[in-house]
């Protein structure tokens, strides 16, 4: 039976609208250094490094290789990468740790959403034969799902606006969040629509950031920190690719992943869920089966900061930070991939 694995250290660059001064290496270097130094580690102590990012996001093939320039890579290191949110890089690192021959892993993710025409970039994820030539931009794609939820009687536009207000109010206490404050439901509803019913406020901000996490297993984790955030369960599932085949008003993949990890086996204190569009919070809360006592997105979530490809890993970071500080004991973490959440990852984090 393999050792339990925990998050023992985290670091974040505050999410900002546009980082004009840092390239990939300059974002990665201070953050991985901070995450390791906090617990007295250096790159040479790390058994495996894995990153999550997207080359298409920044318009640069091999941008993820440029990011490796932010690490100590001589002598050569064990390194891997996923063209996905860092939450999946964390999943890969966890699997690697389960081999048992190493006991620490460094996971990082970065997203520079400020560089490109994001709504059009996201269309490049769509079916190239049937959908891409129509340029189904991300606002429109998310809107198809939001409208389906309204038609199904699951939500109203007012519900979406209230979700925005709640998340951005929570973000006021988060120094790393970008869009935070007391917003007004009526003012949000009065905004003009970009792709109906999606308004700017129902959508995530464009953010630039880099974040990192150090994982450690068993006794190593206990030596490194007093209160590791143990990953008690983790699972991810993917739905069919075609929009017209899925039921956009339910997140079946999230529900299955949640069952596999035992989301509701015990009482949860908080949940950090990766729902960039306001309507998606309703879908994921339903699929996770959270009851009303669980505090959702104390960090403000993706509506407050969305460095695409790091946003899911940030959910792990925000949950782990609260566990490390003793503010929470059991946290549910969710990460998603795809504009209408085709693929979903769910994890359970616990203090002791």
């Amino acid at each position: 039976m393999s050792q339990p694995i925990a998050i023992v250290s985290v670091a974040q660059l505050p999410s900002i609208r546009r980082d004009r001064t840092r390239d990939e290496a300059e974002m990665v270097q201070p953050i991985v250094t901070e995450a390791m130094q906090k617990i007295g580690l250096k790159q040479a102590d790390i058994g495996f490094t894995c990153s999550g990012s997207s080359d298409y996001l920044v318009g640069r093939p091999f941008s993820f290789v440029a990011a490796v320039d932010g690490l100590v890579t001589w002598p050569p290191i064990r390194e891997s990468h996923v063209e996905m949110d860092g939450a999946w890089a964390l999943f890969e690192a966890l699997i690697r740790l389960r081999h048992g021959d190493i006991d620490t892993a460094l996971v990082f993710a970065f997203g520079k959403s400020s560089l490109g025409p994001i709504p059009d970039v996201m269309n490049v994820q769509n079916d190239p034969y049937y959908v891409q030539p129509l340029n189904l931009d991300s606002f429109s794609q998310a809107a198809l799902q939001a409208r389906a939820m309204i038609d199904a009687g699951k939500a109203t536009e007012r519900d979406f606006a209230e979700i925005v207000v709640r998340n951005r109010r929570n973000a006021k206490s988060n120094p790393n969040a970008q869009v935070k404050g007391d917003f007004d439901v009526e003012a949000i509803l009065a905004e003009k629509t970009i792709s109906s019913p999606i308004r700017k406020s129902f959508s995530p901000p464009l953010s630039d950031s880099c974040v990192a996490v150090v994982l450690a297993s068993g006794d190593k984790a206990k030596k490194l920190v007093k209160r590791p955030a143990w990953i008690r369960g983790i699972d991810h599932r993917i739905e069919p690719y075609s929009l017209g085949v899925r039921d956009l008003t339910q997140s079946v993949s999230t529900r299955i992943a949640a069952e596999k990890v035992g989301v509701n086996a015990k009482k949860n204190d908080i949940a950090e869920i990766h729902t960039p569009f306001a309507h998606q919070e309703i879908l994921i809360k339903e699929a996770l089966g959270l009851d009303s006592s669980v505090v959702v997105n104390p960090s403000g979530g993706a509506l407050a900061a969305n460095p695409i490809m790091a946003t899911g890993l940030i959910r792990f970071i925000e949950a782990a930070t609260r566990i490390h500080a003793g503010e929470a004991n059991r946290a549910i973490v969710h990460a998603t991939s795809g504009v209408t959440m085709q693929q979903n990852l769910v994890a359970v984090l616990e203090g002791e």
């Binding site: 129509l134 189904l136 017209g244």
Partner: protein, 147 residues
């Protein structure tokens, strides 16, 4: 540090994609003014067709022609089209379930206004004058009520 440098960068590729027998047949049908889907073993008709049944992963081989009109199952109104959108005046994206199909396809609807759009409305194909075997051989859909 001095003023940050910046530069525009155009990323431009034209991918040449093979279609395979399933997508190729659908696109050939569009060129010829016909819309086809595939019927799975369970009897579900998938439009547009995919190579493998998403429920059983079996290869799909049974092609059926479907109607050229159908029902909007969800939609969104785009009041300010983006440069890359295929329609230049306000339009809707929609998922449309054609008559005879069990799944919906993504396309655009040329409707006079947002108030003309409704889940459940019927729309019909507007074909391009010259067709080449591309999804835009269907220029758009339009409300069936109009003529």
């Amino acid at each position: 540090m001095s003023e940050p440098l910046s530069a525009p960068y155009l990323l431009q590729f034209t991918y040449n994609r093979t279609t395979g027998p399933v997508i190729g047949r659908f696109l050939t049908g569009l060129r010829d003014g016909r819309i086809e889907g595939v019927r799975t073993k369970s009897g579900k008709v998938l439009v547009p067709p995919v190579e493998y049944d998403p429920e059983t992963s079996e290869a799909t081989t049974d092609f059926v022609e479907v109607g050229q009109a159908g029902v909007v199952t969800t939609w969104t109104w785009v009041p300010a089209p983006r440069e890359l959108h295929v329609l230049k005046t306000p339009f809707a994206f929609a998922l449309i379930k054609l008559d005879g199909a069990d799944t919906a396809m993504v396309h655009v609807v040329d409707a006079p206004s947002e108030s003309a759009m409704r889940t459940g409305m019927r729309v019909k194909v507007r074909w391009a004058q010259e067709r080449v075997g591309y999804i835009t051989d269907i220029v758009c859909f339009e409300p069936e009520a109009s003529s």
